[in-house]
């Protein structure tokens, strides 16, 4: 007989408040190390000045508990639920949404959600929530009795530079890589480079996009991947950075800090490729309850 573990609403709620309380004022330590590295190799004086500003901002924000960016984004959560887990007192969505609403008030974060996407369809186009702030939740099952939450605060500027293309299954690696490089490079300074590039390959239309988002989350490479994909990531990172768009699109050696690819099987007629971009204000965290 399987032992079912009950996780209370309070445990989840508290864990989310705590997790978002950590990330709104600090990028992941891995990100800060990468920005430091970008500064070390940079030769352009403006790019160096900007990278130094980013590092100083990280320090100040963490010390004074201030948001690293005014856009604390939309909250995206990947919840991997153990098959032996039961959630007590409420749906996971409502618990997360309540925690997000409360943590937003606690830290004076900006309401950045338009409840009605087509603003002129609403008599109150700046309405951001009814009582609870909307969040984006992706659920999946994992073996065991733990609940894993991968949480991200996803800003709008970088998200807007994301794209998806349904390739033919015979598309060459070069065609796919050109599409990815062009997407990142033509975004210029809009997604606040240096950026993270999350790539989904395969699945269907929506799974591909979800893979690209998941590819941005920490731990950044939790999935087994073929050496071919690792090589492709390296090639893409080099190609993107060689184009020299640089820090904030103002030139420099580093446009992207990391490229991460996730893949899934797909239909014989298709080869979907999705690119999701995140900025240097890379706010994500993984927690296990």
């Amino acid at each position: 007989m399987t032992y079912i573990r009950t996780i209370s609403k309070k445990m989840i709620y508290d864990a989310i408040i705590d997790a978002i309380g950590q990330i709104y004022c600090q990028s992941t330590p891995e990100t800060i190390a990468m920005i430091n590295n970008a500064l070390t190799i940079e030769e352009d004086d403006v790019a160096k000045d900007m990278l130094k500003a980013m590092l100083l901002n990280e320090e100040l924000a963490a010390k004074e508990k201030l948001p690293i960016c005014q856009d604390t984004g939309i909250v995206v959560v990947f919840a991997d639920i153990g098959t032996a887990v039961k959630i007590e007192n409420g749906s996971l969505y409502s618990i997360i949404s309540q925690a997000v609403t409360d943590v937003w008030e606690k830290y004076y974060l900006r309401d950045s959600i338009a409840l009605e996407p087509i603003r002129c369809f609403s008599s109150n186009p700046s309405k951001t929530k009814d009582t609870l702030q909307p969040v984006i939740l992706h659920l999946s099952e994992i073996p065991g009795n733990k609940l894993e939450l991968h949480i991200s605060l996803k800003g709008g500027g970088a998200e807007n530079c994301s794209t998806l293309k349904m390739f033919n299954p015979t598309a060459t690696i070069n065609e796919i890589e050109d599409f990815i490089v062009d997407t990142v490079v033509s975004s210029g300074g809009k997604p606040c480079p240096p950026v993270f590039v999350g790539i989904g390959i395969g699945g269907d239309f929506e799974q591909c996009a979800i893979l690209a988002k998941r590819a941005l989350m920490v731990p950044i490479s939790p999935f087994e991947k073929k050496p071919e994909y690792k090589k492709m990531e390296e090639r893409l990172l080099n190609q993107i950075n060689q184009k020299g768009k640089g820090i904030q699109g103002f030139g420099g050696k580093t446009t992207a800090l990391k490229v991460n690819i996730l893949s899934e099987p797909c239909h014989i007629a298709s080869l979907p490729v999705a690119i999701n971009i995140d900025c240097h204000a890379h706010r994500c965290i993984s927690i296990t309850i």
């Binding site: 004022c25 004086d45 403006v46 000045d49 900007m50 500003a53 980013m54 100083l56 901002n57 100040l60 924000a61 004074e64 201030l66 948001p67 690293i68 960016c69 005014q70 856009d71 604390t72 004076y108 974060l109 900006r110 309401d111 950045s112 603003r119 109150n124 186009p125 700046s126 951001t128 800003g155 709008g156 500027g157 807007n160 210029g188 300074g189 809009k190 606040c192 904030q248 699109g249 103002f250 900025c279 240097h280 204000a281």
Partner: protein, 167 residues
């Protein structure tokens, strides 16, 4: 990289002195405006109505601030993507706008209008809110409060760091 201290409003002769990639430390008054405020400003101009402030006297900052925590001068601030304002910008430039602050590239049409009207587009590093708030002297909702973060805020700044992108 040249670093230049400037006071708003800028005189036309001053704009000519800058070159691309100069770092400017700005002091003076900025008005924030994002998508919805641009929509309204444009409507007012098209209807021949007066604008809530004089475009020539200050700078537009593409920014939606976070709420101000108690005891602080302002909440988190920073630039939003300028390209979203591109379709409204030529009309604003025609009506006296001189300085814009945001992030990312502008369209060809806006770039040409910036040249034509002898205006200035500056970029400000995105994602450095904690650092930028140190340059804010005051911040208050100026008009269209119902737009919340998208309202127009009047910000007094001191040595606010930007870089010349289009001139």
């Amino acid at each position: 990289m040249r670093i230049i201290n400037i006071e708003l409003p800028l005189k036309s002769e001053e704009i000519k002195m800058f070159t691309i990639r100069d770092k400017l430390l700005i002091s003076g008054v900025l008005y924030t405006a994002r998508d919805q405020a641009h929509l309204r400003l444009t409507q007012l101009i098209k209807e021949g109505k007066p604008l809530p402030f004089n475009l020539a006297d200050s700078a537009l900052f593409y920014c939606g601030p976070a709420p101000t925590p108690p005891g602080k001068v302002c909440g988190a601030i920073g630039p939003t993507t300028s390209a979203r304002m591109d379709k409204y910008t030529p009309l604003l430039l025609e009506n006296g706008l001189k300085v814009m602050i945001g992030k990312g590239e502008r369209s060809r049409v806006v770039t040409e209008a910036i040249h034509k009207y002898n205006a200035l587009y500056l970029i400000c590093v995105g994602g450095i809110s904690a650092l930028l708030v140190q340059s804010i002297v005051s911040c208050e909702t100026f008009c269209w409060k119902e737009l919340a973060a998208e309202a127009i805020y009047r910000m007094e700044v001191k040595n606010f760091p930007c870089y010349v992108a289009t001139i």
